[in-house]
Amino acid sequence: MSAALRKAPLVVPLLLVVLFLALRTDSFLSGGNIENVLVNAAIVAVPGLAMTFCLAMGEFDLSVGSTVSLAAVVCCSAIIDGVPVLLAMLLALLAGALIGLVNGMVVTKLGVTPFIATLATLVIVRGLALAYTDGHDQIVSSPALKYLVGGRPLGVPMPILLAVLATALAWWSINRTRFGRWVCAVGSNREAARVSGLPVDRIRIAIYVLVGTAGGFWGLLIASQLQKGNGQLGLGFELDAITVVVLGGTALLGGRASVLGTVLAAVLIETIRNGLNLLNTPPAYQRISVGLLLIAALALLGLRRRVTAGPATVPAAVKEAVV
């Protein structure tokens, strides 16, 4: 029990929040509402999982928010131009993958710091999305696209199904495959990984492509929900995705990934958001609560580390010496 808790400490606050909301509101526990929360959590969780790999590798991708926008724009305008919906969706994913590839190349081959490289693509890609649409909405009315968020194969909402699949896949590849090990190895010490003969550049590029594709997928989900695409979608989403990962317990400096943590964090954040809505709190408090939650989680982590390992932990010192 305690081992399970150590692996997924977010279960405790999640249960507390659920308990609180169940007692304080009438509608929280209704089937429709729970499903609503889970669908929203699933939508954040999928890109969050990709971002988990990225942070486990010790890097960030800030360009996700713009990728969301561009993918939605690509998909919607392709549908408007008469491209079959499936192909349009594929194009959007491809656009996301391409952005990821550019990020990966700039980071590995040109040697630009990931933070800055993806910051630049964040700006550029949003510019592309705005330029392509000339600032207008690309409105579609496509039942096939709607199915991505609204469909219920086997009675389960599609996003939840997809998120469960993605979670299983991510968990398996981080914990059970060579690739997952490589990613964590690069994250814990890139130089050591290189010296041991890992194809570090290729691993990094692969992860950026993964995050880009996931960003594209996020864009598809948003386009499916809103039935439109424009250059303003996804503002600030990059920070949402990183928030979920960090809250989930993936180490900020890389080397460790917590797939289940990411998913739980997504559920926790959406539950709180939903609860605040049900309690009629203004949206501003939702932002504050997410911020406070993030700080509290990391503060607890810091306190625990200080209690168990003294002021300067050895791995941290080693890390500083190497970087």
Binding site: I116, T121, L122, V123, G291, G302
Partner: protein, 359 residues
Amino acid sequence: MSTDTQTPKPARSAPASRADRAGRPTLGKLWDTWGITAILALLLAATPLVAPDFLEFSNLQSVLRESAYLGIVAAGMTFAIASGAFDLSVGGQLALVSVVTLIGYSAGGTALAVAAAVATGLACGLVNAGLITGLRVPPFVATLGTLFVFRGVAYILTQDGPKTLPYDQIGSPFVKIGGLNVAGIPLPFVIMLVVYGAAWLLLRRTATGRRILSYGSSPAAARFCGISETRIRIFVFALVGVSVGIAALTYITRVWTADGSAQDGFELKVIAAVVLGGTSLKGGKGTLIGTFSAVLLVSVLNDMLVSQGVPSAYQRIVLGCVLIVALTIDGLRTRFAAPGSFRRALSVLVQRPSPVDGA
């Protein structure tokens, strides 16, 4: 140039940048400080050909006026990045400080508004510092969290609609902060110059500046030398907060209105300007001259694109590409500056005997 003048002997196997700090200027070192300034000069030299209107006096004035708030915050952020951390919350801080300043102004006039701005900025900075030093939250997460929190508080304070300066206040001394010219130079830019002067002295001429740089280049080593991590963190984040406070004064008296959504994405703009200027995200290296020029470069570029009728969407694309190109050049430079190769060629160029013989 930054950290250690205590170790005069050129370390044999140390990376070139370390040995560079011994004193004499090299081409690489000059580029570190002045590179972006040179690019800015080139751009300005080209303006008469590309955008003749740019050099009109009123246009120059407005460019300088608009660049001030970004520049002032970037000065503070240079310290944070030089110390190896960065503050993601400045966007939230700017929104919150602006809102509080306007509340202060309507309650007690100019004096209270100015006091409120600086005090709120300082308070925001201290909150960040407290989380980082007291609760041991990593700066990235702490300031990401407070970004949400500060913005959220600004939203709550403006629930009944954005705070604005009433139009009949146009003659008040407070509004003049943004509008006045001193001998033709816009006051916000004068404030920015003063801020940069003070910041340069602080970074280059005081022990505190040196401690910040040494802490940034190696926190572990700095700790062993008796530099207090807590003090550095508190100082740096308070400094960022105060710089936001000052910047907000020049910002709010230009735009006259603020709510929780003011300047969304500001933090990334500021960090981009600092890094473009040549301050390393790895810490230990900070150049205020570079930051200053980078801020002007971005503003000038923006203005030129606008005056050429380039749609704002393409402006983003251009600015993003500039960022990547600048950082690529920097990355290539540091790569070739590794012991041996390119560095020796540079040393020859500036008539300097090479201290490092690549073994």
